[in-house]
């Protein structure tokens, strides 16, 4: 599962599909027997990893931002975890059973599990976590668990989910990072958002909280009473908060830290680092939480309300150029709004918009957007998410493409709060470039961009384009409660076709997140959660 950027970048460009196929195959093999394939695990050692920015709290049940998601699953577990193909694997639940109508799910819980403070873990904790925390305080949980009306606890080791509508996506939202099981005895009767345990967590996971020096590091230590005897292998996990990109590269290069994920270093630094003898780069482990780079149109604007104009703009974007020069190969061309890593939903057999300026001009003429005497048809603004330089570069490329067909574009730069408010509260934008996670299931991950009920002022990453199509709503609402996987896939194929026809937004590239790590670190990415897994299996060669 390890290759250098130089070796695989060209292959990604020419045959991304083949590579992904190979990746899935390798990942499958790894899941079958990682320990056997990689030798005998060694006990001991401290793994230092890069974390940026500093998280607000350490519990993903009350804060679902990505730095929290990196730390929390080491201390908190979910009912299950997932392999790279989304197959459910036991964690705090040892088995589960869904009724035929999809409205009852029974979980048998793991016996002998203890919280870090020594109290026993029971079905009451499961009941409390879902009904009192996730359903009320989790940014996505309120929507994901909307049809969960009760969790019954017939005995200490059985939890029965009662739903008023089938909610197939729940079965993909049960990982420790998305739906952590939290201790009832710590949180009961308190305001969960302000509970002091958010800073000094008590979980069931393989690592226990040790200390947090603000602005410096977070340290976790081995949980000696972990239910999976003999694990974890590492003595300590240290999350170093290093705010500067170049400093992070140096920290990896000098061996001060051994693990970094996502945007850990500037993309143009990755190739250099991957050539160092001690480091390796992989794109495995991002199956569960994969991101897509989108371009979104504000349909409230008169010019952009015309579908032909949006399609014309889509034809001006040279995605191959983006993949190669902006993403340095750490992305593949998007063919639909749903990532190809979600193979049971994704389809690319839908309208596509290859780079074609003639077609763009023709569509603009048809739409009545004639060129003025100065060669300009109309003006637009482009906003980009300040979470990455890639989005600014994408905006620049888009501007050049638009200029060639007579659309004058102005790029607006802003800091994150300004940007979020401008796009999703004030709706004061024309074209918006950003990335969003597809999070395991379309209902959780991307329905929010197309459902008319997600046109919610003040909610970031909701339906910002203002897209309101009753046909789309019907498809989405049917898919929410469709328990038959084949029928559900068919519904999402219709949905993707409609998105690519109407183009309220469009996927530009599927981001290939990468992890840079020291070659001494073994057994990474044994599940589809990658950096968001518990690290109970990870060990460090001497």
């Amino acid at each position: 599962m390890t290759f250098t950027a130089t070796r695989f970048a060209p292959r990604l460009l020419t045959g991304g599909k083949a590579l992904l196929g190979a990746l899935a195959l390798v990942a499958g093999l790894a899941a079958a027997g990682p320990a056997a394939a990689q030798g005998q695990p060694v006990r001991g050692g401290t793994l230092s990893m890069i974390l940026n920015p500093e998280p607000a709290v350490l519990v993903s049940g009350v804060n679902s931002s990505s730095p929290v998601a990196a730390v929390s699953p080491k201390m908190f577990e979910g009912l299950v975890t997932y392999d790279p193909k989304f197959k459910m694997l036991p964690q705090l639940a040892v088995s589960w059973n869904q009724s035929a109508d999809g409205k009852t799910i029974t979980f048998k819980l793991r016996p002998g599990v203890k919280w870090h403070d020594g109290k026993p873990f029971t079905s009451a904790d499961v009941q409390f976590s879902f009904m009192e925390i996730l359903k009320k305080y989790h940014s996505r949980g309120t929507a994901t668990f909307q049809h969960l009306v009760a969790v019954e606890t017939p005995d200490d080791l059985t939890a029965v989910f009662k739903l008023d509508e089938p909610s197939p996506y729940i079965m993909r939202a049960l990982a420790g990072v998305e739906a952590p099981i939290m201790p009832k005895h710590i949180y009961e009767g308190s305001d969960p958002l302000k509970n002091p345990a958010n800073l000094k967590p008590i979980g069931t996971g393989p690592f226990k909280f040790k200390e947090w020096e603000r602005g410096n590091y977070i340290m976790l230590e081995r949980n000696p009473d972990y239910w999976d005897k003999g694990k974890p292998y590492l003595d300590n996990l240290v999350f170093r908060i290093i705010p500067d990109g170049s400093a992070r590269a140096v920290a990896l290069e000098s061996g001060a830290v051994q693990y970094g994920t996502q945007y850990v270093v500037p993309l143009n630094d990755v190739e250099r680092l991957s050539k160092l003898p001690n480091l390796a780069v992989t794109t495995a482990g991002y199956e569960y939480n994969t991101s897509v780079n989108y371009l979104e149109f504000n349909l409230r604007r008169p010019y952009l309300a015309d579908r032909r104009v949006r399609q014309a703009i889509a034809y001006t974007i040279n995605t191959d150029f983006l993949v190669k020069n902006v993403w340095f190969g750490f992305a593949t061309k998007a063919t639909s709004p749903i990532t190809d890593k979600q193979a049971d939903f994704h389809t690319s057999n839908i309208p596509q918009y290859p780079y074609d300026l003639k077609k763009a001009e023709q569509l603009l003429d048809e739409a009545g957007m004639k060129k003025g005497p100065d060669g300009i048809r109309f003006k637009v603004t482009i906003d980009w998410s300040p979470s990455g330089e890639m989005f600014r570069q994408t905006a620049e490329l888009l501007r050049q493409g638009l200029q060639r067909v007579g659309i004058q574009a102005e790029i607006r730069n802003s800091d994150n709060p300004t940007y979020l408010r401008r796009v999703w509260t004030d709706n004061d934008f024309d074209i918006n470039i950003f990335s969003a996670s597809n999070i395991a299931d379309p209902v959780i991950g991307i329905q929010r961009f197309y459902w008319s009920k997600s046109i919610q002022k003040g909610v970031s990453y909701s339906n910002g384009s203002g897209y309101n199509n009753p046909e789309m709503d019907k498809i989405l609402e049917s898919a929410q409660i469709e328990n038959n996987p084949a029928k559900r896939k068919k519904l999402y194929e219709d949905m993707q076709r409609l998105v690519m026809t109407d183009l309220p937004n469009m996927g530009l590239v599927y981001i290939q997140w990468f992890t840079i790590y020291d070659k001494k670190i073994k057994n990474l990415n044994t599940t589809g959660l990658g950096p968001y897994e518990s690290f109970a299996d990870v060990y460090m060669e001497k």
Partner: protein, 340 residues
């Protein structure tokens, strides 16, 4: 500097009484200044679009309107700005500086946890820049227009013009990556189980690069200032007298010129303390130094207004105190100047 007044010496109140009256007046002004700073900051910060909840919910990848509403209400951000401001002032008057939503901690605890790191970095860098600046300035002034003087001038110019972060990064590349001599990130080795001596040494090693980076700019300023101040005094009559008496050049430089030339440096020192808080942001970011500067910077990007105003208030208080101390030191150093 507000208080220099050169007077003849008529019959006056006792020195102690005057000092007390002076201090009371200055502290009264300081309190008013601080209130004005809070109000001004409140207004300016609220002019920036977006609030802490936009950031929190944005980082969480969205949410529902109820979720956002609930957060905003929980933190009192659904109130009009004047209500928030009055609440803040009333609380601050009782020394309650509020709660950082973003960090889930009280603002005072946060500032206090970061203060030692910043103070250490500032003290080291002030000592370094002041000492080196005086030495180089004196050296240059004694050999004015010589090669050494010119070389020092060029060096000072380079240090003055070099961006802090660039110097920091280059120092990391050289001393950390290439030579592997000094650590380039953090304040100490994590979980090293050192005894107190090793731990001190460890912090010292981590301190070298950031303190030097931060000191360079001010060293340049001090060098230029010291040199010109020395030259100015060299031109005064009493130095000519000293020369005429046949005193040695060394004695003239160190006994007659230096003590008088150092006065403007004290003024500059007072100003530097304020400027260092600003410069510390860059150095703390590049070197991952867990200080106040970065805390303030993050607070801006996260619209963590309680925390930011707390830090600004604290920084303002620090500058006011530094100015007051500078004035008192000035009066003590130069008998012609007195507090009034």
């Amino acid at each position: 500097m507000a208080t220099e007044s050169v007077r003849p010496a008529p019959a006056r109140r006792s020195g102690r009484e005057r000092l007390v009256r002076y201090l009371v007046r200055r502290l009264g002004q300081a309190a008013l200044t601080l209130v004005a700073i809070v109000i001004l900051n409140f207004v300016i910060l609220h002019l920036a679009p977006g609030d802490a909840i936009d950031v929190l919910a944005g980082e969480a990848g969205g949410g529902t309107p109820e979720y956002v509403e609930q957060l905003r209400h929980a933190y009192g951000l659904d109130q009009p700005i004047y209500v928030q401001m009055v609440r803040y002032l009333v609380n601050a008057a009782q020394l309650n500086f509020g709660f950082s939503f973003r960090n889930n901690m009280s603002v005072v605890d946060l500032i206090m946890s970061r203060l030692p790191a910043t103070l250490l970095l500032m003290t080291a860098s002030i000592l370094l820049s002041f000492t080196l600046g005086v030495l180089l300035g004196v050296f240059a002034a004694r050999r004015v227009n010589s090669f050494a003087d010119n070389a020092i001038s060029v060096l000072a110019l380079l240090c003055y013009a070099t961006p802090l972060f660039w110097f920091g990064l280059m120092a990391i590349v050289l001393f950390t990556v290439k030579l592997n001599l000094l650590p380039g990130n953090g304040m100490y080795t994590i979980a090293a189980n050192y005894d107190w001596f090793e731990a001190t040494l460890d912090v010292g090693r981590h301190l070298v690069l950031p303190a030097c980076s931060l000191a360079l700019f001010h060293m340049a300023v001090y060098t230029r200032l010291m040199r010109s101040s020395m030259l100015e005094i060299y031109g005064l009559d009493y130095i000519r007298t000293a020369r005429a008496k046949g005193l040695s050049q060394r004695r003239i430089a160190f006994r007659h010129v230096l003590p008088n030339a150092i006065l403007p440096m004290v003024t500059m020192l007072g100003l530097q303390i304020g400027a260092l808080l600003g410069g510390a942001v860059l150095v703390e970011t590049v070197f991952g130094w867990p200080g106040l500067g970065r805390l303030a910077f993050d607070a801006i990007l996260q619209r963590d207004h309680n925390l930011l105003i707390g830090i600004l208030l604290f920084g303002s208080a620090l500058v006011i105190v530094a100015n007051l101390v500078t004035d008192l030191v000035y009066a003590w150093l130069d008998p012609r100047i007195e507090v009034a």
